[in-house]
């Protein structure tokens, strides 16, 4: 027993060291090479920068060929609009499903959840057809609506599971007070489901931030409205020979979402596991 305890501890240590190296070395390279010149990176990518300068990061942030600050603003705007739309649309639907009795509600839930299994790669080309027909191709509203649609399955699942845990007595007493379905939901139920709303929002923020195909195809490869992800893609494919541009641009692209992840890691990791297992 004693011997296996020591062995177990050593094994754990070895595993932790291996895992840390494999995860941290790429991030280490990303950070340190953002402070070096192209020549210095090509000479020794793993070494710490000779003289520490923010010039390359400032250069990437203010490069006239790719407006990083505008990309931040576009992405932030997209994140805010889609989150608001998603909650406005999904909240009442999840409430109706969670409180509804009968086959019809289960069927609708299955329809909404089933959409989770349709690969975006298959529906993207026909989606262009739909957006063309609706006159929404190459428009921001087109992107807002498709992105919102993509958030519905997970969000409806998280919300309805949470609402089911709220006692129906609350609805009944609101009903006795003369409140309609919408008022009951927004004034009584919605304020209680903050944890579920927070989880859904956090997952949607990450999902929208890293989404490449949606904005790339719907806004069009030639569009000058670019999110951080599509902007970085367009920029790096063009200037991939100059590492002193590539590294700082990548660092700037991940910095906001990395900070977001550090602050909200528990909610992100936990929410994702809950969503995936039960879904």
């Amino acid at each position: 027993m004693k011997r296996s305890g020591v062995l177990g501890k050593l094994g754990h240590l070895a595993g932790v060291v291996a895992l840390s190296l494999i995860m941290l070395v790429p991030l280490y390279l990303l950070v340190i090479n953002s402070f070096k010149s192209d020549a210095e990176i090509r000479l020794s990518a793993f070494a710490l920068p000779g003289d520490f300068t923010f010039d390359y990061i400032v250069g990437a942030a203010t490069d006239p060929k790719f407006n990083m600050l505008k990309a931040y603003a576009v992405t932030l705007f997209l994140v805010v609009v889609v989150n608001i739309l998603s909650i406005l649309v999904t909240g009442p639907a999840a409430y109706a499903i969670a409180r509804g009795r009968g086959m019809a509600y289960r069927a609708i839930m299955l329809l909404l959840l089933g959409a989770l299994f349709i690969p975006g790669q298959v529906t993207l080309i026909p989606l262009i057809y739909v957006l063309r027909t609706l006159g929404l191709m190459h428009t921001l509203p087109g992107l807002f609506l498709t992105s919102t649609g993509a958030t519905i399955p997970t969000t409806v699942f998280l919300f309805s599971a949470y609402i089911k845990s709220i006692p129906r007595d609350l609805d009944e007493s609101a009903k006795l007070d003369g409140a309609g379905r919408y008022r009951t939901f927004w004034q009584i139920i919605f304020p209680i489901m903050k944890p579920a709303v927070a989880t859904a929002m956090v997952l949607n923020v990450v999902g929208i931030w890293v989404d490449f195909l949606g904005p790339r195809i719907i806004l069009g490869p030639g569009s000058n409205v670019r999110t951080v992800t599509t902007g970085v893609y367009a920029y790096i494919t063009k200037y991939d020979t100059d590492f002193s541009k590539v590294y700082p641009t990548m660092l700037l692209a991940v910095a906001p979402v990395l900070i977001f992840y550090v602050l909200l890691q528990k909610r992100i990791i936990g929410g994702l596991a809950a969503g995936a297992i039960k879904g």
Partner: protein
């Protein structure tokens, strides 16, 4: 009008925006994919029916065959790798200590940072003039063609994908491990079971449903690989690391062969459904053993 009827109407109005969005942006496109796969649609002009021409073209398109084979390799090795490393990492980090929580944070981080930037980062690390090869040069060694030769490039892409996603599966396995009744393990220890026996006879059977979920999710994810290939290798060298999703979204799309792209998408979807069902059936026995 009775109260019940009023509530029914309220319910319908509450449900319809969500249903409408999902139907318009997910369900209708799926149906349209089938229709468009029988047309010559190029994205601009009217779509003309061409019968089975697109499907016949898949049958004779060697680039698509090559992409299908590589996608199959990713699906096999990726699904295996993700589950082996995912479960291994979950076992390693199961105890809720400070170090383990930080390690979970690290393992999961690629999911948050996104495939596009991380793909470019790995390109900058593994490329012919990337971080590793310059280091080898200063040490006086030759370079390793991580991305510039067919087989190493395929291995590199698969390894990076496993690196990026095992943390996601580890989180799912951790959630599964939490459900194991501790008294079962204690009873096994009292009976003199060793670590391997506890893993094989106690933990693994209880994890059966979690394994099914992980196998299915990993397989679906691997069949859809696109951004990684786009950013790590651009499909190269010489198209050798193109996947089916790459064929659809880069090759067919860039050439305005949208009907042809749809046909490939439909085939991919059919394969996906068949494999998902196959996994469920294959796993049913293991799961029933748990229930018993």
């Amino acid at each position: 009008m009775g109260r019940r009827a009023a509530e029914k109407i309220a319910d319908i109005s509450m449900l319809s925006p969500a249903v409408l969005l999902v139907v318009v942006f997910c369900v209708i496109p799926l149906g349209l994919a089938i229709y468009l796969s029988f047309t010559d649609w190029n994205g601009f002009d009217e779509a003309n029916m061409v019968g089975w021409a697109n499907y016949k073209r898949i049958g004779s398109d060697r680039d698509v065959h090559r992409a299908a084979i590589f996608t199959g390799l990713i699906a096999i090795f990726g699904t295996l790798g993700l589950n082996v490393f995912g479960l291994g990492t979950a076992m390693l980090l199961n105890r809720n200590t400070r170090v383990n929580r930080f390690m979970r944070f690290l393992a999961f981080s690629p999911f948050v940072l996104g495939a596009v930037v991380l793909g470019f980062l790995w390109n900058a690390i593994l490329g012919p003039r990337g971080a590793i090869n310059t280091l080898l040069k200063t040490w006086g060694y030759g370079s390793i063609p991580f991305l510039s030769q067919s087989t190493p490039a395929k291995i590199s892409v698969i390894c990076v994908i496993i690196w990026a996603s095992y943390g996601f599966h580890a989180v799912l396995y951790l959630a599964g491990l939490q459900t194991i009744d501790q008294s079962l393990i204690e009873a096994a220890v009292v009976d003199g079971a060793n670590r391997w026996q506890i893993f094989r006879r106690v933990k693994l059977p209880v994890l059966a449903p979690t394994i099914t979920v992980n196998l299915t999710l990993a397989m679906i994810g691997m069949l859809k690989v696109y951004e990684w290939v786009l950013t790590i290798t651009k499909g190269g060298p010489g198209g050798r690391t193109q996947t089916i999703a790459y064929e659809i979204l880069s090759v067919a799309f860039d050439n305005s062969w949208l009907g042809y792209g749809c046909a490939q998408g439909v085939v991919l979807m059919v394969i996906l459904v068949v494999l998902s069902v196959a996994i469920q059936i294959a796993r049913r026995k293991s799961e029933e053993d748990v229930a018993a």
